[in-house]
Amino acid sequence: MPSYHLDHLAYLETEAVHVMREVAAEFERPALLFSGGKDSICLLRLAEKAFRPSDLPMPLLNVDTGHHFPELNEFRDRRASELGAKLIVRKVEDAIAAGVAVPTPGEISRNRLQIPTLLAAIEEFRFDCAIGGARRDEEKARAKERFFSFRDAFGQWDPKNQRPELWNLYNARVNPGEHMRVFPLSNWTEMDVWEYIRRERLEVPRIYFSHRRLAVRRGGQWLPVTDLLPPKPNETVRELVVRVRTIGDIISTGLVESPANTVDDIIAEIAAARVTERGSRADDKTSEAAMEDRKKAGYF
């Protein structure tokens, strides 16, 4: 007798495909945020599952901070062209030059500056929806996020004024100037993402796997030494065998010492891991409310 029951990945997949198709059906000008990171790689596969044999009914959009790992941008561009998808890249440095994004004196990180850059891109193309790869398990403030997350005309998220979300009935209605962020991977965990990558045999950028890199120890973690992050006089540079677990800017992404060379290795490593994935991002450590503040301002 056949078993009419879905395993956890198949369940998460059908849920996400349903969400993707709701976006295609309900919005006039949606975009899909694609960074080349593991979560957005899953999003692209889900888009193929939802829409093939048609072309993807939305362009890909990426905000380039100028501090990306070069491997990531190479991967992003190649993957978009393999899929025959339109890729729009908007750069933080252009937004700074145009006065759209204003760094505070001495601010090196471009994390915060992604926000105005993204909002400007949404305005420029009049996008009414942006699909993102955020997951609720990443962080406490995200645990209350909806699949369809409403943003007002200033791109802001109001955690106290969210639309209740019932069954699989998503309220996609927005007025002109407002938009929706949609998160098809809301219910996925880091483990699900890697298991899905394994099941679907998805290619991911090399930096997720073990490699040698020069690093310095700062704020309790190993950061990659680059032109943007030169070692301070009192710091010792070490060459380590590392991989990245979650990709942020090259100046704030913590490296984990790891021999993991395959997706199976990574899955084994996560199963045994003793810190969460965001534990390796310097930008999140600042305060427990850090994420909540950025989300309110319109962070991804």
């Binding site: 939802a50 048609s54 209740p164 003793r274 969460t276």
Partner: protein, 439 residues
């Protein structure tokens, strides 16, 4: 087995209880004792314990996400938590227990397989417990666990546990849709009967909570009787490079009920057109059959004019088709609902206009009494209403199918979701024009 390739399926559950019954502590305990907490999370807990908790770790802090809540000291919305054991993955909707937050519980319960209703062993059944149980029944949650918490404060008394159980059993029959109800004596604070069996309740023979969550049978929670395929998106490639795709016209969607097989005769409702399923297309190749809740693309043998909002159904277990509807509503907005108001109504994949023509009754969810002809429904009220839609819906009673029996109301202008609706079974089922259809 490959390392890390563990759970076989997903159980979604929600927790409900009054403020201070121990929901947050319980979820924290489940995460902590099932080793789903990471060092940095424990570290953050310890940091906040130093500041606020006088040095003691507060498991409840794990789930109290937003700053506003921490300031007010209460959970104000629905938060989702994730954890796994080697047997299952769990999605927990943490819903608050304040009287005025029925809306949140309905939200968290809408997609749950199971509800954990917490009661404080000292207080036993209170008005809130009756509300929570009512909502679990209203939302058609297949499995319910009554977790009698704080057993440490009643000396692990078996008599007290039985008494509370009897209090529940006195009114559960009035909610006859609840078929699977388990009672478990726990202490969330100390972890008794949460993950590990407790030595302090030798008189309790059932499993600890987590063991029950791992084993409860959920395979039949989806409706597999009667094909329901709401057309979500028409898949029609523009200018395909592959000439074989020139005539590709797929109907994409997620099965909301039943099983579909290639070769099945189907009806497209509400129009009533007939066809045959030529192929079940997926990105991974064609399937011989698909079942709810899979997402697929159907190719029909005939080139019919089918669009989003249409429903493809099979020959047996026909649904109702109509625009004069009766439903239970949970009202979720500050502004009261009065007769005659117009809304957008979203049901499966279609959005139509709807007007609430009659407020038949308001249900007192603490006494389960129905008050007829209420002048209005207030925020968090549940009532029975009649609605008229601008176009017919293809639907089932909510008790038969949670996906084709549910809808939401959206207020025009503000676009807020103002109500959750559960349809009563149709007075009559759709009758195909040709009786030979079933052959």
């Amino acid at each position: 087995m490959l390392p890390g390739s563990h759970p076989i399926d997903i159980l979604r559950f929600n927790t409900c209880g009054s403020v201070d019954d121990g929901k947050s502590t319980l979820i924290g305990r489940l995460l902590y004792d099932s080793k789903n907490l990471m060092e940095d999370q424990i570290e953050a807990l310890e940091r906040s314990a130093d500041i606020t908790g006088g040095g003691q770790i507060n498991l409840a802090n794990l789930t109290d996400g937003l700053r506003a809540e921490r300031e007010q000291g209460i959970t104000i919305d629905v938060a989702y938590r994730y954890f796994a054991t080697p047997r299952r993955r769990f999605i927990v909707a943490d819903t608050p227990g304040h009287v005025q937050y029925t809306r949140n519980m309905v939200t968290g319960a809408s997609s749950a397989n199971l509800s954990v209703v917490l009661v404080d062993a000292r207080q036993g059944v209170i008005e809130q417990s009756r509300r929570h149980t009512y909502i679990a029944a209203l939302l058609g949650i297949p499995h319910v666990v009554i977790a009698v918490n704080k057993m440490d404060l009643v000396d692990w008394s078996e008599a007290r546990f039985r008494e509370i159980r009897e209090q529940f059993e006195a009114f559960l029959p009035r909610l006859n849709v609840l078929r699977d109800v388990k009672f478990i004596p726990i202490s969330a604070l100390n972890g008794d009967n949460v993950v590990d069996p407790s030595p302090r309740t030798p008189w309790y023979e059932g499993p600890p909570l987590l063991r029950h969550l791992e084993n409860v049978h959920i395979a039949s929670d989806w409706n597999l009787e009667g094909l329901r395929f709401p057309v979500q998106w028409v898949n029609r490639p523009h200018a395909p490079r592959d000439p074989a795709l020139h005539d590709f016209r797929g109907l994409s969607g997620q099965l909301a009920g039943g099983i579909v097989r290639a070769g099945d005769k189907v009806l497209v409702l509400p129009g009533g057109l007939r066809s045959t399923v030529r192929q079940i297309h997926t990105f991974d190749g064609p399937l011989a059959e698909a079942f709810s809740p899979q997402s697929v693309t159907l190719l029909l043998a005939d080139d019919l004019d089918v669009s989003r909002g249409d429903m493809i159904v099979g020959a047996d277990h026909l649904p109702g088709v109509g625009s004069d509807l009766r439903a239970k509503l949970c009202w979720m907005h500050q502004k009261p609902l009065v007769r005659g108001r117009k809304f957008w109504l979203k049901h499966t994949t279609q959005t139509v206009q709807a007007v609430v023509t009659t407020l038949e009754s308001r249900i007192n969810i603490a006494t389960y009494d129905e008050e007829p002809d209420p002048p209005q429904l207030l925020l968090n009220d549940i009532g029975a209403v009649r609605l008229q839609t601008s176009k017919p819906l293809v639907y089932d009673g909510y008790a038969q199918n949670r996906l084709t029996g549910a809808f939401i109301l959206i207020e025009p202008g503000t676009n807020l979701t103002v109500a959750a609706g559960m349809l009563q079974p149709p007075a009559e089922l759709y009758k195909p024009e040709y009786t030979d259809f079933a052959i």
